[in-house]
């Protein structure tokens, strides 16, 4: 064995993108946390996997050692760094794939638009989208919860936030969902990617259109008019912002809400409790976020030799911070493999930790609450059918559902001012 190999302590056969991991991840993570909390796998060019809460938080907080910076050369397709394993040959997301000091500039520029007050201001619109989507099917008693509700609500909310035309919601929602679960080798993959590229093309067109119009309330108008660091936002930066907002905000909230509704259908005592104590919903929400952790983990790039929990990490190594594993660490959570809708305090890190922590979490919380409210009030006897649904075959990107056939007692449409 050469010295290089010696340094990679705790070699394991692990791939967070594999089907084995998707079907067996709680067990795999439990074993890793106990035996090899910072383990080395040779998959995807080699990377470390961190599964203990304490280690994951420490690395996420040490942003100088554990870099998120990404480069992408569109001509050669060469990628360095970034927060995904394997690296994706697309331009970086911003602010998430930057380091200090640039990160300060990008994050400060966006923060106000995603702060709690900004998220609350959108609550009525989220309710309107949820009610209008339910109107489409409420008289039939059948809904594909994912493709007709928990997918489109975040998609439409994000479109409205960006300033994209709502009537294109289907063209927007479908590719963003399909991109997450369609394997790269599938025959329909090029079609899915073309759909995603179309969304970014719409962002570019709207961004340039907004430059010819007075400053409006939407984000593309903000990018077109509001200077960053005393200069105009470039088209490249605008696309990187859109990349981060769209991929971070849409299918994640879809997965969370779908999981929660399936769980509550399977645990009627918890469902009854939430109906009787609606004030418990924010506490339950955080427990669903912990337990289902829609974004299972993200990567960092080691910028100097460092030892972490016994593992000798070298400059240039990559490390996968498994939020989902940390969120089930028994050192931090009592009975971590069980949902307790009243668990509190709950210091989960499903939105990440350290400075890159999810900028859209307040928006996600509003969307989740509104979707749950609309279901619990308008189709309270809903029955999800996970036996007829498909899980994502990989949890490498998002832990979610492809679809979710759901039935309920038909009810009346309500007036929302929006016909879809």
């Amino acid at each position: 064995m050469d010295s290089q190999e010696d340094l990679k302590r705790c070699p394991v056969d692990f791939d967070h993108e594999s089907r084995t991991h998707a079907s067996n991840w709680p067990t795999e993570f439990r074993e890793l946390r106990g035996k090899c909390p910072v383990a080395w796998t040779e998959k995807h060019g080699g990377y470390w996997v961190a599964t203990r809460y304490q280690d994951v938080v420490a690395m996420a907080q040490d942003d100088a050692t554990f870099s998120s910076f990404k480069t992408f050369d569109p001509h050669s397709g060469e990628v360095t760094g970034g927060i995904t394993i394997p690296a994706t040959p697309i331009p970086r997301g911003l602010p998430v794939e930057s380091d200090r000091p640039d990160w300060n500039m990008f994050r400060t520029y966006l923060n106000r638009r995603f702060a709690p007050k900004a998220a609350e201001a959108r609550r009525a619109k989220v309710r309107k989208y949820a009610d209008s989507l339910l109107n489409r099917v409420i008289e039939t008693g059948e809904i594909d919860l994912v493709n007709e509700f928990t997918g489109p609500v975040p998609a439409m909310t994000t479109m409205e936030l960006m300033g994209l035309p709502l009537e294109e919601w289907r063209e927007f929602a479908d590719p963003l969902h399909e991109m997450v679960f369609t394997p790269k080798e599938a025959p329909e993959y090029p079609h899915v990617i073309a759909g995603v590229q179309w969304i970014f093309k719409r962002c570019i067109e709207t961004f340039h259109q907004r430059k010819t119009e007075p400053l409006g309330d939407d984000l593309l108008s903000y990018f077109a008019h509001e200077k960053i660091d005393g200069r105009a936002v470039t088209e490249e930066e605008m696309l990187s912002f859109c990349n981060n907002i769209i991929t971070g905000g849409v299918d994640t909230t879809t997965a969370l809400t779908t999981h929660a509704l399936v769980y509550l259908n399977e645990h009627p005592e918890d469902y009854r409790r939430l109906q009787e104590e609606p004030k418990l919903l924010p506490v339950a929400r955080e427990e669903f976020v912990r337990f289902f952790t829609p974004i299972h983990g993200l990567a960092r790039n080691v910028s100097r030799d460092v030892e972490m929990d016994g593992a000798k990490m070298e400059k240039g190594d990559r490390v996968y911070l498994a939020w989902s594993a940390a969120n089930r660490d028994p050192e931090v959570f009592t009975d971590p493999e069980t949902v307790d809708i009243a668990r509190f305090p709950n210091r989960h890190i499903a939105f990440g930790a350290g400075m890159h922590r999810c900028i859209g979490s307040f928006m996600a919380r509003v969307m989740f609450e509104e979707m749950m409210h609309v279901v619990m009030v308008r189709i309270p006897d809903y029955r999800t059918h996970p036996d007829r649904a498909r899980r994502y075959t990989s949890v490498g990107t998002i832990n979610g559902w492809v679809d979710m056939p759901t039935s309920f007692t038909p009810g009346p449409k309500i007036e929302t001012g929006l016909v879809l």
Partner: protein, 64 residues
Amino acid sequence: MKVVILDERCVGHGMCRLACPEMFELSDEDGHAYVTSETVPPDLEAAVDQAVRGCPEQAIVVEA
């Protein structure tokens, strides 16, 4: 009891506000938390303690 938030650690998880909305507000600028008062009334001490234990960044410090 006194409570302070370490600004360099807080990144806006917002769990403190869920624990004790009377003592913790979230900024309209960046969602980071700030305290409404450094002095914790005795009837809110238990809730503030929950906020301390619920903060993933360990950004809340209390002094007796």
